[in-house]
């Protein structure tokens, strides 16, 4: 019993050591691009590709294609054939056939016309015009500012008319609003990355504690 626990702890320590060394190898990029970092970089590409290959086969191809065909839904042979046709891209003479599969794939994006129109345009416009959705005691004032900011942001992205005069001034207000928005996203991104960094350092700390506990306790 004791030996089993000891073996398990050893194996866990070995795996954790591998993870810790790969973490340090990746952090070594902060010094400069080096062979140790390149090893970690190439390893993650290979392992990641293998991971997603297995995941795609088991979570998508198996239930949606193989199981469907096994259950007798024979029309599912159509996407199977279209999928295989994609592979004709490797043939110089027959690569044009793969366009049929791509055409079907691209064609289904037609659903984005009503969906984007409803979700990205209609709902956002109606929420923007709801002045009661503002903030704090000056709800309506901030609501009007949101309407003006949204309009100005859209005007900034409208390039069919020269940004001059009142139109240009409004576009300038738009870029100011956009910059504050980008700043907020920037702050969030930095915080998220710092959280990841803290988590990686905590993992290294745990690994150090594990090493000490293993060898000295």
């Amino acid at each position: 019993m004791h030996e089993t626990i000891q073996d398990s702890a050893t194996v866990t320590l070995l795996w954790t050591t591998l993870g810790a060394l790969l973490t340090v190898a990746t952090f070594s990029f902060l010094y400069r691009d080096n062979p140790i970092y390149k090893v970690a970089e190439h390893l993650v590409v290979g392992v990641g590709a293998g991971y997603f290959l297995v995941l795609l086969v088991y979570t998508t191809l198996k239930p949606k294609l193989f199981d469907a065909l096994a259950e007798g839904h024979l029309w599912y042979i159509i996407p199977g054939v279209l999928g295989v046709l994609m592979w004709l891209r490797f043939s110089r003479k027959l690569s044009w056939i793969s366009r049929y599969s791509i055409a079907f794939y691209i064609g289904t994006s037609g659903v984005s016309i009503p969906l984007y129109m409803y979700n990205n345009v209609n709902r956002q416009v109606s929420s923007t015009l709801d002045l009661g959705m503002g903030f704090g005691s000056l709800t309506e004032v901030w609501g009007i500012l949101i309407v003006l900011g949204t309009l100005a942001g859209l005007v900034y992205f409208f390039f069919s008319k020269a940004h001059k005069g009142a139109f240009g001034g409004f576009a300038k207000f738009g870029i100011l609003v956009l910059m504050i928005g980008f700043g907020a996203s920037f702050g969030y991104t930095v915080m998220a990355r710092i959280s990841l960094f803290v988590q990686r350092i905590a993992e290294l700390e745990d690994w150090g504690a594990m090493l000490i506990a293993y060898f000295f306790s």
Binding site: W15, T16, L22, T26, V39, E41, H42, L43, V45, G46, V47, G50, Y51, L53, V54, L55, V57, Y76, I78, P79, M86, W96, Y100, A103, F104, G107, T108, G110, V111, S112, I113, Y116, N120, V121, Q124, V125, I146, G149, T150, A152, G153, L154, Y156, F157, I175, L176, L178, M179, I180, G181, F182, G183, A184, F186, Y188, T189, V190, R193, F197, Q199
Partner: protein, 207 residues
């Protein structure tokens, strides 16, 4: 045959996808769901094509002994070990010991560390933006800084900073995000129409 048929397929499928949204018929709904499945299946084959391409490029690197070819061995070894481990437990099962551990102790640490590295590069980018000394760069940095320090205990400053962060997020940030979302929506609809009507044909490639 080479260009016209794909254009017809795109038009017909797109038109169907638009029509089914407005016509609440069970039969159309079923076809729509099948089409979505078809798209996912074709997408997986396209991704497999990408993985095949990755293997071929790395194999060619090793074969030709081109620059840094040794790293290609690491990529291919990692790929094959992970793939074999994934399929070892039996059809449809991913509870293989090696597969799970390679994910937890190789893939996750490297990916998380790579993303965390961005904190340093982003800090350096912020410093360069700060040196630009323009109104826009200053606004961006002040807004970013307020969002970053809003959870930091700063005594009597904590409450006003938290209020300011809340205002930034719910007023100017909301306006900016809505402008972007509406702009993206209009752009996506316009692009979808261009593809549907055959005006945009880049996906066909060259003959």
């Amino acid at each position: 045959m080479k260009r016209r048929v794909p254009l017809i397929i795109v038009f017909c499928v797109s038109l169907f996808m638009v029509i089914q949204y407005f016509v609440p018929l069970d039969s159309l709904e079923r076809v729509y769901r099948s089409f979505l499945d078809y798209t996912i299946i074709i997408g997986v084959f396209a991704l497999l094509l990408g993985i095949w391409s990755l293997c071929r490029v790395n194999y060619d690197k090793i074969k030709r002994k081109s620059e840094n070819w040794q790293y290609a061995i690491i990529t291919l070894t990692g790929f094959f070990i992970m793939t074999i481990a994934g399929f070892l437990s039996g059809w449809g099962r991913t509870d293989n010991y090696l597969y799970q551990h390679l994910f937890s102790y190789v893939l996750v640490p490297i990916q998380a560390t790579m993303f965390s590295l961005l904190a340093f590069f982003i800090a350096s980018a912020a410093f360069r933006a700060f040196r630009a000394r323009s109104l826009l760069a200053t606004l961006l940095l002040i807004s970013g800084l307020v969002i970053m320090i809003r959870f930091v205990p700063l005594g009597f400053l904590s409450e006003p900073i938290s209020d300011l962060a809340g205002w930034i997020l719910r007023v100017p940030n909301m306006a900016a995000k809505r402008a972007i979302i509406i702009g993206v929506g209009l752009g996506a609809v316009a692009t979808a129409f261009k593809i549907m009507l055959g005006i945009e044909r880049a996906y066909l490639g060259r003959d």
